[in-house]
Point group: C2
Chain length 671, copies 2
């Protein structure tokens, strides 16, 4: 196994890499983050890198394009002749055959995403799966030399009517010393009135659990006091699996193409969860000097929790995230008819999963509905409880995949629609994650077509800033939706989605390389990547596909239910939080609804995980609802194709938005 | 941490040892077996070694008595002045302070014990805790894309009326591939009608489990076919914890005196069990060339089992062995009022214990009665079922500790008596384990006091052999009991246990060193240790203490039950198998009983483990009986001391054994 020296610039990260590995594989080994949205399927073109040629004495290597494997067909699509001359390659295609100095351009660097998944204030009844019980027992004598455990069990039965209790093997190991340390008074943590999982000397009142929402892109953890139901802290992170592919299908593909893919992805998320829990615990310690900046300093926070104090955990996630976390083969979830390995909820010992909380604690993984409607959707359902209401609700959870639930207490149906990652910024020429440098809000002047925008990481809009202050890198999800609505509202594109060829703005132009039409959102000077940020006809089509899938999904479900109007539209997830409701209506993201009946429900999936953490009946409710939501496979509807194509059109504005008259030019309003 | 070179002779084992460790600790590190009956409490004197002085160029070391720590008071008791001059020390006392060449005399070497724990033919109803079920399920379609697991659960419910089944997390991981490999036909292993623990493609009929009996000294494993109840193989080994001390109290002491003592002892027995299971599995493979000799070659044996095929395990053991195996602090079991940590049976995932059988299988550990009456006794009870009989049974299990059960279906009481290890050969000057070179049978001519004996590892008695062929090293448990009965029957000792001073045999003499009376069993020439093997007055007292404890225990229990005669005496364990019933009666080991009502029940504890493996109702029965046997603490009886002293006496022979008239000299018979 011959090795080569590989150096990544500008970070300077270096190491010896086995020859034959791709540049992406090498970057992973060395811990260099390169965007790979497609999971190395060679279709996203995001992993462009530049091979630097020459002898680099400082590093003792001679790097040349001869040291990488020959060109692959797929690369031509993303790398033009100029770039080819400059040494550009796709990291997923080019294999290392000798020493290399590799430059990772800024747009290829996987930035740290800005995530915000705060806990909402929802009503939950107190009834956690784990509860603490205080008992006092008599000291053993010759007359009564009953075992430590049976002594406690007798008392638990007498005082709390708890019977037939088991004890976790590891909790039993601590029993004799805890009992004697507590002078025969102790607090016992019991899971589901079934199993003793912790024994503590003396009287302990507060105890803690964590609710987890594993999203494809972001992961959130809610540290809760199980006694008071208080949310102590919310922490979140990027899903560390992002490096294996941006969306669910890329991860499944990664598993199928790499023997240890599943293990690697599972270990990464588990390690990530462990870090999240550690971070949440650490934040409860008294402030220290020199601590990491991303830990929120809380005044007077001095609970001093550590991982063994976390005595329960609940997890939601879509079916693929669920399967990968649990090392359940996700292969068949990706192939029609998409059967999952398991529907029902699981209670798994944290230690079996490798989760570092109390060693005897369980992790409760919520049930999943179907191959494309996972435990995250079940979380949304038990948080929102549409099955308890009369009004017909349409609940939309747009992540990389769109998950839809429609109905009320009479009937609930669910389905998923392949919105694709376009609404999150992927598959868009300058799309990117919600990280610093991403455009998140856009306004386009209908007259001049001048563009104003706001960038993550800066408070001011562009028009209040110097161009070179903006430092933009691309456009993130919420920016994409804004952009789409704005280019339509300002007449840059037509109802069909094609560019209006008659527009006069200098921002509308043909690309000098391929002669395709495009619209410039930000000029080179405003960016940190040294080129104009544009939106292309292909980008518009991608967004249309996404919005078409979603709209068509909603429409077909309503048809199934025999209704033409819903009482309420609830939008979950970060998308719901950031979406401009009016713009969503303009572009026809979902069927029309009174604007004040459209509500954002935040991270409802995470709320569901929290509900299941704080109330064990919610777990039963979750199992019940997951088997009682009827899953509809929309693509099997006879006229699906036609409905989909129709849904890609942008609906007439005129009749729907009379209040826009005067704001939007007549020619556009009348399209 | 300075190190010294240490070489053990005659094996030649050598290594670098941290200075400050004792010779015993060094021997353990290097894998040299030295007898340590007392668990390094410096009271057994079995670990005598000789420090060789001089420069040993071959090994590049200079060994001298100066390289060991100063003499300790305890050593004087066991090492006389001659030996001191020769360089003898106790391995547990002498600490290494420089390079050493250490000679381990033959009598100090821990020999490999001869163990025989064959499975008895007892009646057990078939109803194992784990059962295999065969199902065929439909392939997923768009119309029915239910998950793999729910597909199987539905079928198990329809076909076998099994509902509310869980699945072990690791078994779930194999589900999708096994299901597809088996083309939607599969065999499911279900534990206690509760949890799926294995999924196999296609139809599988045979499946396997192991019943384990962890004795203080020996460990036996019964590999069984759970479908046919056949015992495939019985394998046994020395308990690897013997190196930490011979008896229960020494092991508890080892735990209390070493911080990692419990972990070490637990790991050793678990590793031992893993080896036993591997050995039993290996024996089912087709014979290979060059295989180890201790694996029994079976004709046509080609099951080819491996550890993952072992799908259930049951374990019995006394309370200390139980606690140490499970890493439950055994400290309080050793201190009055001896409360255990737990009574009830436990079902522990094999993987949590580190037991290498199927990763999803459970280990069922049987319940314990009291601090000194453990799961082994519960095993005896469920194998013998005295609680289902009218006749009053006295069940005696003599190991290092005597465990007694008395009663019938009306009432059962149990107790333990501190027989000590004398009846197993420990605490006797020339006592040793049942290993090659140990005297196991003795006859003494009442007239001439000539001794005839049989040695383990040789078929012929001494009188048929040349003296130097015997190669004896000491006397094992069954030899001790024979010896005691014989020295009494032949008038060498009196009813009180003291030597008969008027005997004329040259075998009766005073020890030249300490002037104490002793009786020579074997002359120097017959041994492999180069000295006369004798029995001393102190030895006789030790045996009397043991027999007194047992007899007194039986008597006090009978008094409690208000009976003066039992219908049947059952003797369990190796002792029961080897004991000469008449000799046991002569010496008054237990209350008188018709000789044909005394039966040996072999390894009944192991039989109980097997019963619990093959019939899950036996597990419930075990939990029931363990809570319904009344444990009696004999030492609390008011006249315990007096009863004990009386029981140490050897009872009159005359009235009890009229048939001995003429065989035994009158003066002895009339004592």
């Amino acid at each position: 196994m011959e090795k080569a020296k590989v150096i990544f610039q500008p970070s300077g990260t270096r190491g010896e890499i086995k020859k034959g590995l791709s540049i992406i594989e090498a970057s992973r080994e060395l811990g260099v983050d390169i965007e790979v949205l497609c999971g190395e399927k060679k279709v996203c073109g995001k992993c462009k890198v530049r091979i630097e040629e020459g002898s680099f004495e400082k590093f003792g290597i001679h790097s040349t394009l001869k040291n990488v494997s020959p060109w692959q067909e797929e690369e031509k699509k993303f790398i033009n002749e100029d770039q080819e001359r400059e040494g550009y390659r796709l990291g997923c295609c080019a294999k290392i055959e000798g020493d290399l100095l590799i430059f990772v351009p800024e747009e290829s660097r996987a930035g740290k995403q800005v995530v915000s998944k705060a806990a909402r204030d929802i009503h939950i009844e107190w009834n956690p799966a784990v509860k603490y019980y205080y008992v006092e027992v008599a000291e053993p004598t010759f007359e009564n030399s009953t075992a430590d455990l049976e002594r406690i069990l007798d008392e638990l039965n007498k005082k709390y009517r708890l019977s037939d209790l088991d004890i976790d093997y590891l909790a039993a190991q601590g029993l004799p010393s805890q009992l004697r340390e507590g002078k025969w008074k102790l607090t016992v943590a019991i899971w589901m009135d079934k199993e003793i999982i912790r024994v503590l000397p003396g009287k302990v009142e507060d105890y803690y659990g964590v609710a987890i929402d594993v999203g494809t892109t972001t992961v959130a953890a809610y540290l809760c006091n199980l006694a008071t139901m208080e949310v102590i802290d919310t922490v979140s992170m990027m899903n560390p699996q992002c490096k294996y592919g941006e969306d669910v299908m890329s991860r499944i593909t990664y598993h199928m193409m790499h023997q240890d893919g599943l293990i690697k992805m599972s270990s990464d998320i588990i390690e990530g969860l462990n870090n999240l829990v550690a971070q949440a615990c650490e934040a409860t310690h008294p402030p220290k000097k020199n601590r990491k900046k991303n830990v929120i300093e809380k005044e007077g926070a001095a609970l001093c929790l550590n991982h063994t104090d976390i005595i329960d955990m609940t997890v939601v996630g879509n079916t693929a995230m669920h399967h990968i976390l649990l090392k359940l083969n996700p292969e068949y979830v990706g192939v029609a008819p998409f059967p999952p390995v398991i529907h029902k909820s699981m209670d798994i010992k944290a230690r079996d999963l490798g989760i570092r909380i109390n060693e005897s604690a369980y992790v409760h993984v919520l049930p999943i509905e179907a191959g494309f409607v996972g435990a995250d959707n079940v979380g949304v359902l038990i948080a929102e409880e549409p099955y308890k209401k009369d009004e017909v609700q349409l609940i939309i959870d747009i992540g990389t995949n769109g998950e839809l639930v429609l109905g009320n207490k009479a009937k609930l149906i669910s389905s998923s629609c392949a919105t694709g990652p376009a609404l999150e910024g992927a598959q868009i020429t300058f799309g990117m994650r919600a990280a610093p440098g991403a455009i998140e809000r856009i306004k386009i002047d209908p007259e001049t077509h001048e563009v104003d925008y706001k960038v993550i990481g800066r408070d001011a809009w562009r028009s209040y800033s110097e161009p070179d202050e903006m430092q933009i890198k691309g456009i993130c999800g919420s920016g994409i939706l804004d952009l789409f609505a704005e280019v339509y509202r300002s007449g840059i594109i037509l109802k069909s989605g094609t560019f209006n060829k008659s527009q006069k703005s200098k921002r509308f132009r043909r690309n000098p390389d391929n002669d395709h039409p495009e619209f410039v959102i930000a000029w080179k000077e405003e960016t940190s990547i040294g080129k104009d940020v544009v939106i292309t006809q292909k980008d518009i089509r991608q967004i249309q596909l996404a919005k078409g899938a979603l709209h068509c999904g909603c429409k077909l479900m309503m048809r199934r239910m025999g209704i033409d109007k819903v009482d309420r539209v609830k939008i979950a997830g970060a998308f719901g939080t950031h979406v401009d409701r009016e713009k969503a209506l303009i572009m026809g993201l979902f069927p029309d609804c009174e604007i004040d009946k459209i509500v954002s429900i935040g991270n409802a999936a995470g709320d569901g995980a929290r509900a299941a953490l704080l109330n064990r009946e919610k777990r039963e409710e979750a199992n019940w609802v997951s088997r009682n939501v009827e899953y509809i496979e929309l693509t099997l509807e006879k006229d699906f194709q036609q409905q989909f194509v129709e849904a890609m059109q942008i609906p007439h504005m005129k009749d729907r938005f009379p209040h826009l008259k005067g704001i939007v030019p007549d020619n556009i309003l009348n399209q």
